[in-house]
């Protein structure tokens, strides 16, 4: 067993309250929540049924869904 200074037992991974924090070392994608959807003709034009996924290349990555983001609130 790898040595550690936790008195033998392996420290528990920090609990991961949904959805605000990700676990250390884990990639984390916020879970999509079904809110409103586009009309079918808009959806076909925009390439998605879901407004929150309708992101131009420029927007993608800059928006944090609910913590400090500037869309979806």
């Amino acid at each position: 067993m790898a040595e550690n200074n936790c008195g033998g037992s392996k420290p528990q991974a920090p609990s991961c309250p949904y959805p605000s924090c990700g676990c250390i070392g884990y990639g984390y994608v916020p879970v999509q929540e079904l809110e409103c959807v586009y009309e079918t003709d808009t959806a076909l034009m925009r390439g998605t049924l879901f407004p929150e996924l309708d992101l131009s290349l420029g927007e993608y990555g800059k928006i944090c869904k609910r913590w400090g983001g500037n869309v979806c609130e």
């Binding site: 879970v31 999509q32 079904l34 959807v37 079918t40 076909l44 049924l49």
Partner: protein, 84 residues
């Protein structure tokens, strides 16, 4: 609706139903999402039947619904003449 408009309507519902299907892949217990999926699929199937009754089968298996074998009738749905 002419053939072009009908086909576009069909594509809209096909796309919307499929996108909702992708959502349900990760949210299988989402009741609201599932209801929306059912509605979209129902509408798509209705439009598809209407299209095929008016313009012939869109896929080979649909040809089985007709009295005669129409699948080889010109033009096929993906051919230019069918989309002019």
């Amino acid at each position: 609706m002419n053939r072009q408009e009908k086909l576009l309507e069909l594509q809209k519902y096909n796309f919307a139903a499929y996108d909702m299907l992708l959502y349900l892949d990760t949210h299988p217990d989402d009741k609201k999402g599932f209801m929306m999926f059912k509605e979209l699929v129902e509408k798509f199937k209705k439009l598809k039947r209407e299209y095929e009754e008016a313009f012939g089968p869109l896929e080979a298996y649909s040809a089985a619904r007709f009295g005669t074998f129409k699948w080889l009738d010109e033009p096929w749905p993906w051919e230019k003449e069918a989309n002019a």
